[in-house]
């Protein structure tokens, strides 16, 4: 039974043309998101997660950014072929996004309620009064106590957790098909993070939307995603169902990452480490991008790049020692 994909990203490449040189922030990245599912995207900072999500929203700063290859099919239509006017009708309506720091995406001079009701009026044929009612209802839905009163507050009058709720209320106010959440809880405390993740999960089921959840926290992925894409230095290095990934990680990077997290259970003692650090995107190592840090690196890894190998069952991995062929150049 093949489920229909809501979003298909195919062979996406994004380059930044900077004074220091060309940075390939996203390098031939492909993945898809099914209807109603949550796809997790994990990787260390700078690996291209945010650039991927901004590319989908067509919000990349250009210049310096340029999409040099690929398609982004949303309900079968290529977003990269849309005009800016068409994109404006899609953004905040059929696709919406929440960011790590809600303050950057909320306007400090308007009340939160007004920002939500204006977003609603922009996309839906509702009267002003109906939009206000809907905004209050959304604030209530995301668990903001006393929503009629809170409607009239400004973003700075709210705590970080409350602001993130407002962002979610705004993002969901037009019943989007796809929600892109880029590190939505990274700036929040754990108890507030638990509230927000719980809220996102419940609302997702209720409105039947798909979610692209971007995070560097493997715990958050494990608790919310159904499938996971692991990125490293601009490339997809592994994809698996959540259970497979955590039970049996195939890529040495994923395996190393999982072992380096301090566990709540388990003994004290030295943590496993991945030596070194993420390569400079202007100066990538030859061959497999992970080879300078990889405990399994062999000669071929320093000479050729492994291709992403399809293993069936939605599993993909990019590693010679797991059977990837060399990439053709």
């Amino acid at each position: 039974m093949e489920e229909k994909s809501l979003l298909e990203v195919k062979d996406l490449t994004v380059k930044f043309f900077t004074d220091d040189g060309v940075v390939t922030a996203v390098d031939r990245v492909s993945f898809d998101i099914k209807r109603g599912e949550t796809l997790g995207m994990v990787g260390e900072s700078g690996c291209g997660k945010s650039v991927t999500s901004l590319a989908i929203m067509r919000l990349l700063p250009s210049p310096p950014a340029r999409i040099t290859s690929g398609k982004i099919l949303f309900e079968g239509e290529d977003l990269l072929q849309k005009s800016e006017a068409e994109m404006r009708r899609i953004r905040g309506n059929r696709i919406s996004m929440i960011f790590q720091e809600p303050m950057t995406s909320l306007n400090p001079v308007f009340t939160v309620g007004r920002q939500i009701s204006e977003a609603i009026m922009l996309h839906q044929k509702l009267s002003g009064k109906e939009a206000v009612e809907r905004a209050v209802e959304m604030l209530r839905l995301v668990g903001i106590p006393n929503p009629e009163k809170r409607y009239h507050e400004y973003p700075h009058q709210m705590s970080g957790g409350m602001r993130q709720r407002v962002m979610i209320a705004m993002a969901l106010s037009c019943n989007p098909k796809l929600l892109i959440a880029d590190e939505p809880t990274t700036a929040l405390d754990v108890t507030i993070q638990a509230q927000i993740l719980d809220l996102m999960n419940r609302l997702k089921d209720r409105v039947g939307m798909s979610v692209l959840l971007i995070t560097h926290d493997l715990g958050v992925v494990a608790e919310t995603a159904r499938r996971v894409v692991v990125m490293y230095a601009g490339q997809v290095v592994e994809e698996a169902s959540c259970e497979d990934l955590f039970e049996n990680p195939l890529h040495p990077y994923t395996a190393g990452l999982l072992k380096s997290i301090p566990r709540l259970e388990g003994e004290k003692g030295r943590l496993n480490v991945i030596e070194g650090s993420v390569p400079n995107p202007l100066n990538l190592p030859p061959g497999c991008r992970f080879n300078p840090r990889c405990p399994e690196a062999a000669d071929i890894c320093r000479k050729k790049s492994p291709a992403l190998l399809e293993m069936g069952n939605g599993r993909r991995v990019r590693c010679f020692s797991r059977g990837s062929p060399p990439e053709e150049v």
Partner: protein
Amino acid sequence: MNQQKNIIEVQGLVKWYPVKAGVFQKVAGYIKAVDGVSFSIKRGETLGLVGESGCGKTTSARCMLRLIEPTKGRIIFNGRDIMRLNREQLRKIRPRMQVIFQDPYSSLNPRLTVKEIIGEVLAFHGIARGKELEKRVKHLLEMVGLAPHHMRRFPHEFSGGQRQRIGIARALATNPDLVVCDEPVSALDVSIQSQILNLLEDLQARLGVSYLFIAHGLNVVKHISHRVGVMYLGKIIEVTESDEIYRNPLHPYTQALISAIPIPEPKVRRRKILLEEDVPSPLNPPEGCRFWTRCRHAVNICRREEPELVECAPGHKVACHLYGR
């Protein structure tokens, strides 16, 4: 036995910040950032402090070092009450207590080379100069896993993890007895966090230094600490051995905090204790137990009487009426 002696004892630490209002800037109230905190740290021991943003972790640590003046409290460092020291005496004791900050980007002066950054500390405290200073800097860099030639580089030439190593080398330059680590790995990637945590542990084993280790993430704190204190709204509400805090958390807030941590095991589904609402304002904390507005077990007495931090099992202290004598 010297080994067992406390390097520091903090008793009844209070820090209130006045809030001014009106045309005449009259004091309208106080932010009770830290409101009666006591703890001690033994030689060679790591005490972890966890709690949510704004609960007073950094303020407690900075007061303890007298980087900010406490409103009230006693701080006994190495047997001396440092609240009674004047500036000059304090200056002499400073090299024995150091800090590592969260942000490896802003905590290093971008215009100085690594040698100058570390050398500055050595020179300021009159520890070394000239050739000897250079030798020390090289030694410190090697100790934290960097190379001697890194000495001539500037902070921007290093990755986040490497900058944090420089921060650690600087903190250790004076051979301190106590280092406050204020969220030293929070800004780092997962794969780099474990490198830094291992380094801090190795250095402790080698130098016998004590740490006060502050972080949001209970898994990180539990891993590195011998004992853990949990803070809520300016108070320590529970403190015990780090294994015990995870296996047998007693305070309802600690229980919620632990249950909220996402676990990287999709097959394990733990029941979460979801707390309602936010932490109340430290300007106007709830009467009685400060947690009662969010506590599932709150009863009448909780709203009236503040529970004291009492030992309910050997080495396990908790401030909650559920565990009354």
